[in-house]
């Protein structure tokens, strides 16, 4: 187990380094600088500012400075809002984004699995068709379209929910719904198909032959096996939910990390770009690692704890 974790940590660090490097290359290759604006800035002032933020150094020095800021996890102050450090922004935005993301995942998993299980149990029945029709819709409608629709119908027309912001549970319902529907639909379809397959397995028949009750069979014997493939796609879903938060936070004016991330790119606020990128990528990489560990725990045939992951 220890060897496996060490090996994985190495890979994670390398992945992170590649992401940081690519981000840096992209950052310096997009035109513009933090001090450009339509009105034009005084040349001397601009040079001064650039010198202050080391932007006049050769790229390699800048790159090394960035690497240092990552290792020390100190990205310094934002260029655009010098009164705030990047760490302040992350500290303020992350809890909100995390709340949005975690609740989305919980909603997507619970409702997706429930929907999939019922569809499988009522195979070829009206419930099955309804659930799967709903799932196809959920997969095909992009979350920003759904978000706009929800705002228009439920917030503006019917006035059931607030239009935007992140103040109370009522504020959270629409953004979470918009963000969770797609992943939920994917989980529902996958759960249904794996569940249908598992239900035909001999060990399910064996469980019935033991006289176990139907619910016990479904929960103890079928669900765990049916959920294994769902766990494998959790990594991809996490990534898509994470990128989804940028858009959803923007639409619903949720003051999460996504706001800082998007704004920092628009404004070429280099330290903020780097900080948020590093933070998002580390978070995702760690989550993917946890998904793998979870899979190993759920499926005893995968022995990560004995032999380094073979």
């Amino acid at each position: 187990m220890l060897r496996y974790i060490l090996k994985r940590l190495m890979i994670m660090l390398v992945t992170l380094w590649i992401i940081v490097t690519l981000t840096f290359i992209l950052m310096v290759s997009i035109p513009g600088s933090p001090f450009n604006s339509e009105r034009g800035t005084n040349e001397a002032v601009q040079a001064n500012l650039e010198a202050h933020y080391n932007l006049d150094e050769p790229y390699i020095i800048q790159y090394l400075l960035y690497l240092k800021s990552i290792v020390t996890f100190d990205f310094g102050p934002s260029i655009k809002q010098p009164s705030q450090t990047v760490n302040d922004m992350l500290g303020r935005g992350f809890p909100i984004s995390f709340e949005l993301g975690i609740m989305t995942i919980i909603v997507a998993v619970i409702s997706g699995v429930t929907l999939g299980v019922f569809a499988a149990l009522k195979h070829n029945n009206v419930i099955d068709y309804l659930a799967m029709g709903f799932a196809v819709l959920g997969i095909s409608i992009p979350n920003f379209v759904l978000a706009t629709l929800l705002i228009q119908q439920l917030a503006v027309n019917l006035e059931i929910f607030p239009v935007a912001r992140w103040l109370s549970p009522a504020h959270m319902i629409l953004p979470i719904t918009a963000l969770a529907t797609g992943p939920m639909a994917i989980i529902a379809r996958l759960t249904r198909s794996t569940m249908l397959e598992v239900l035909t397995q001999d060990y399910i028949k064996m469980a019935r032959a033991k006289g176990l009750s139907p619910w016990k069979i479904i929960i103890k014997h079928a669900l765990k096996n049916a959920l294994l493939p769902v766990v494998t796609i959790m990594g991809t879903l996490l990534a898509s939910i994470l990128t989804g938060t940028f858009v959803i936070e923007k639409i619903f004016a949720v003051p999460g990390m996504g706001k800082y991330f998007v704004e920092s790119i628009n404004q070429r606020d280099y330290p903020v770009i780097m900080g948020t990128t590093v933070f998002y990528s580390s978070f995702l990489i760690i989550m993917l690692f946890l998904v793998d560990i979870a899979y190993g725990i759920l499926d005893p045939r995968i022995k990560i704890h004995k032999k380094g992951g073979e």
């Binding site: 064996m206 033991k210 006289g211 096996n225 499926d299 005893p300 045939r301």
Partner: protein, 335 residues
Amino acid sequence: MDTILEVKNLHVTFSTYGGTIKAVRGVDFHLNKGETLAIVGESGCGKSVTSNAIMRLIPDPPGKITNGTIVFKDKDLTALPEKTMRSIRGVDISMIFQDPMTALNPTLTIGTQLMEGVRQHHRITSDQAKSKALEMMHLVGIPNPTERLKQYPHQFSGGMRQRIVIAMALICEPELLIADEPTTALDVTIQAQILELFDEIQEATGVSIILITHDLGVVAKIADRIAVMYAGKIIEVGTKREIFYDPQHPYTKGLLKSVPRLDVTGEKLVPIDGTPPDLFSPPKGCPFTARCPFAMEVCDKVYPVTTEQSDTHKVDCWLQDERAKQLLAASAIKQ
């Protein structure tokens, strides 16, 4: 001898897109306490459907028991509500499946899977369940049971898994054990060990066994009586001796042609020319007519009357009819 199970006129059908499959079409047999009855027959003749019907495990839809009774210890199982049936499964009647590689849940430990049966049906503590599980592991001959309980199915060989499946089936001390091809998926040496285990268990517990198999070698080893099934019917039934040494039905004779030896396991049925009838529209008369070298005009039209060779030996074939016997005798004289 006490009868523990009596199946009468059992009919099972499956409704499919292509039509209704009449998989079991009026099966009668009984099982005495403590004996082993083997059901043999070609693939698709309805052996598994019959055994699933006894457990009431026919998937519905598409399957249905459309007629008949299954009387187990004075209770007609076909009439019981599902809930009562659940209290019989695993407790009074247990089942063992063909493939031990797939009959165990890969994500649960052997211990969990062994104990859940007893814990479902009896109010016992987990310690009691555990000691019962250990006792069963011991009975079926698994070394180091205490450590083995914590392991998962993939850590066992095929033969060991089948032993565990047998332990699972026996843990509530059932009176009837249905084994659907329990050795087909195992290699020959393991087969012999498992068959021996059946014998030992029967000796130790007095359980009655219905053994379904393709393998006449297996039958020769452990069956007391044999029922031969063809196209959803039992066409001949008798003691092992009667079936092996005095078969009457042309189909049974065909089956046995290749297996004269009682001391060798692993011999498979040699196929008889032709194929069994279509179960969507099975023939009115004897289903073997198309393949039978002795077929007569009546065979195609009317299903043969069951004749009794002895108290235990019954045959469904027109050749047993007095008129056919006279005819045969007459033609023999002519020649």
